[in-house]
Amino acid sequence: MARGRSCAAVALALASVLLFTAAELNAPGTTGVLQASIGGKRTLVLADGPQIQDSHSMFFSALEARGHELAFRFAGSADVPLTSFGEREFDNLVLLAQSLSGAVEKGSKAVTVADIMEFIEDGGNVLMAGGDSMGTLSRSVGALCGVDFDPQGSRVVDHFTAVKDEQLGELEGRGVYANTAIKGEVAADNALYLGSYSAGRDGAVVFSGVGHEVDDENYLATKVLTASGTAYSADPTNSIGKFPENAGRDTLLVSAVQARTNARMLFTGSLAMFSNRFFTLPEAGNNVFCSEISKWVFAERGILRASSITHTRQDGSDAELLLKQKERRDLPMSLFPEPEIAKNSQVYRVKDNVTYSVVIEEFDSEKGGWRPYTAEDVQMEFVMLDAYERITLEPGARGLFKKTFTVPDTYGIFKFRVHYRRPGYTVLSFSTQVSIRPFTHSEYERFLVAAYPYYASALSVMVGFLMFCAAFLYSKDEAPSTKASQ
């Protein structure tokens, strides 16, 4: 345990050092999200009662083996501040509870929906598994994150993929609840979520509980596990009169959500999915699946970091400075105040060829921390309100992404902007401001062919004037006749 703490401390220190050096190297005027925090190891488990430590011990020991320091709190005595004095007390929250209801001890305060939402807004990760009688706390947190659980009493039922085993509990697939321990289908074909899990090798994930749905337009959420085409969601103790709550593959079993703060959340309606009973079911892949998906949730995988953001002209020369730092004479400050303009603004000219580069790295705790990221789809936009250029950066060695482009023929204040959002990865969104100036007078072309008529006309006027002067000066009027004057 102590070793885990020191490891985490070292990792945090290392991360801060790296962040610092990275910030040093970036071009001036760079802002935005350059890095999401890598997974911390302070993990809080909120559960209904202490029996969870036995029934789900395999999942917890897998977390502890990865260095997580687990703190357990139970309903009634769940007086634990997720944040204190504005700082998160925990990095991760595991909410393995039906309702967390029960008499709260005197003087203590139960965890509220607002507490959990604040925790998420501060960047904390949440793994939430409800159960058959999921309470309002879990449902509200899910709803606020875009995950709608099916109504109270409903279960996901599948008569075709149901597992029948002696190990299953009373509510998990026997008697009235027969056919509710079902095999899920993997929907997110992405190694960032699933890691080394594969349904073919490790066996299907067995699920027993409440289904949910996610809006198709919710791009923050990813469907990880769905029910099979023959499943439906309804109350198994009643006959189904109308259409069931959910049917077929629309019934979601596990969903992953990544908030705008890069906080990660996992929602599922099955408490049993993480239990020892389901982990040890023959031909069930729950053990591998739950362990792998928790690595994504607790930010041990799929974290991106951008650093060394540079821009130069194609020939390697730096941008000009808009207002050069002039050596000023010593003058009274109140009579000669400093001009109120942005100094050291980086300037390129229209039609300049500019090279932009950024180093992107990926964090994977299993593959040894930060390592170069490779992708063919990292795009950079050159933006002044609208994107004037949208170019795909070329990947190079050591995570370097680079491209040369011609600045558009419009002057103003532009941004190099990278907004990189890919499933399973944290979002990178950063921009670097530069100014684009028009040609100076000395930069325009001289003696254009098109201007020859104008040159000719100017010269001809000059020559004509000379000729007129000569004619005027050196010609003599006829002498006026004396008759006319008299």
């Binding site: 004095f85 504005g86 010593d330 003058l331 400050m333 109140s334």
Partner: protein
């Protein structure tokens, strides 16, 4: 054996005299150490009084090394007399017990009739109170954390010592427990007495988290210009860039909440008023910023000082910034003395606000054109000095007005002592400017007179210049 080897090394390294000194030092005992830490403002003012037996020649005292960057001011006194002190170079004889500490030695002359002496070390630290939480809303209270050690480490044995903390408020959120050795009385916390403390013992961490609504006014930069005119005026102008360095404000600002709190006289993490103590005789005081005059300031003439209270245009909340300048005129009698052509200027070095600390202070002294043999005597070490010249009104010769630029970092109230600048100035040169003006007007009149006497007409007038017929 090891001790003997160490002693031998010491003997080789520092000679017999130093070893003799070390032997005598071994007898030195602190009969009492009283440490008073005042954290009721944005500073930590630590006054440690050592009652010492058996000292002669020099006395060593220790300060924490990690706070050394925040140390703004230090003084050592014995019976109200200032003592010289210097940083000790780490000696090879010192063991690891003194790690994390910086040793100073002060020159102490023990009076013959006294067995014990009292040595007081005053240290002022800036930027050591960390706001926690880092961000608060307008309605929340600002609380800070102060961390130190439970004991004041000393290279000598201590018979008895206590630590007293003076807080800004009686609201303490958490503090280090010390069973039966701690007493809290309103906003005063006392740890101790601890008895028979071995050398270099620090007793572990002392951490206190309490509510502090003092003005966390930090001037990121301050420029003071002192312009001397030998015609009888010293003009002082000060430019401030101020920031509230306490807990940053999050959320929006509500004027209604602000006024409600103000009328109820509830403590408030913001501040608006700052008091300055200007030298007596200051007149023509102004207080402006880029927009123009700021009308919210009051001046009171007290004995020995002119009290200027400036109100910023808006209340200052955590992280908010403000910039302004202010100035005044002073008759030369108040700061300038001379004997013959040798002048001595004496003006306060630091800014006049006791509650503000300055991260980056620049003091410019502008002397009259023609001043020479300029010697600046800043009152502290660590003041960098540069020279330049300035051309303003009626500066005629190529040299301009000489400017002495002094810069210092981390300046607090205790630094507000007299700065001395001496220079030579030929008093007859004072007449240069009036003569210049008189000469210019004379030249204008002469030119006008000459112009009036020149006949610029093309044709001659008068009877003899009758138009020609033709």
């Amino acid at each position: 054996m090891a001790g003997r080897v160490a002693m031998a090394i010491l003997l080789v390294a520092s000679g017999a005299a130093a070893a003799g000194g070390a032997e005598r030092r071994a007898e030195v005992v602190n009969t009492q150490v009283q440490r008073k830490i005042d954290v009721s403002t944005q500073f930590a003012k630590v006054v440690t009084t050592y009652t010492v037996k058996g000292t002669s020649g020099s006395y060593k005292f220790a300060l924490p090394a990690d706070a050394q960057d925040h140390l703004a001011f230090m003084s050592v006194t014995m019976d109200k007399a200032e003592l010289e002190f210097e940083l000790d170079a780490p000696s090879p004889g010192r063991d690891s017990a003194g790690e994390g500490l910086v040793l100073y030695s002060a020159a102490v002359e023990r009076p013959q009739d006294k067995e014990e002496v009292k040595i007081a070390v005053k240290a002022v630290y800036t930027d050591v109170l960390t706001a926690f939480p880092k961000e608060i809303t307008q309605l929340e209270e600002q609380s800070v954390v102060f961390a130190s050690t439970l004991l004041a480490p000393s290279p000598y044995k201590t018979v008895k010592q206590t630590t007293t903390l003076k807080l800004a408020s009686p609201k303490i959120l958490s503090m280090t427990e010390a069973p039966s050795k701690r007493s809290v009385k309103s906003d005063q916390v006392t740890y101790g007495p601890f008895e028979d403390v071995p050398p270099f013992a620090d007793g572990g961490e002392l951490r206190i988290h309490y509510v502090n609504h003092a003005a966390f006014a930090k001037a990121t930069s301050c420029l003071r210009e002192i312009e001397v005119s030998n015609w009888g005026n010293i003009a002082v102008e000060e430019h401030y860039d101020l920031v509230h360095a306490g807990a940053k404000m999050k959320g929006g600002f509500s004027r209604m909440d602000y006024m409600a709190k103000k009328h109820a006289e509830l403590p408030n993490p913001s501040f608006r008023k700052l008091d300055a103590y200007l030298p007596a005789g200051a007149s023509d005081i102004y207080y402006r910023d880029n927009i123009g005059n700021i009308s919210t300031s009051t001046v009171r003439h007290n004995l020995g000082a002119v009290e200027l209270s400036v109100l910023s245009r808006f209340p200052m909340y955590g992280g908010w910034k403000n910039a302004w300048y202010q100035g005044y005129n002073l008759p030369t009698e108040a700061g300038l003395r001379h004997s013959g052509s040798h002048f001595t200027l004496e003006m306060p070095f630091g800014p006049p606000f006791p509650s503000v600390w300055v991260e980056d202070l620049t003091v410019k002294v502008i002397l009259p054109e023609g001043a020479h043999n300029i010697v600046a005597l800043p009152p502290f070490e660590g003041v960098s000095e540069a020279r330049t010249e300035r051309f303003t009104f009626l500066d005629t010769t190529g040299s301009g007005r000489p400017v002495v630029i002094m810069k210092m970092k981390n300046v607090v109230k205790e630094h507000n002592v007299m700065l001395k600048v001496t220079y030579d100035f030929n008093r007859a040169r004072m007449m240069m400017e009036p003569l210049l003006l008189a000469g210019f007007f004379l030249a204008c009149f002469l030119a006008a007179m000459a112009a009036g006497r020149v006949d610029m007409r093309i044709r001659r007038g008068g009877a003899d210049a009758a138009p020609t017929k033709g």
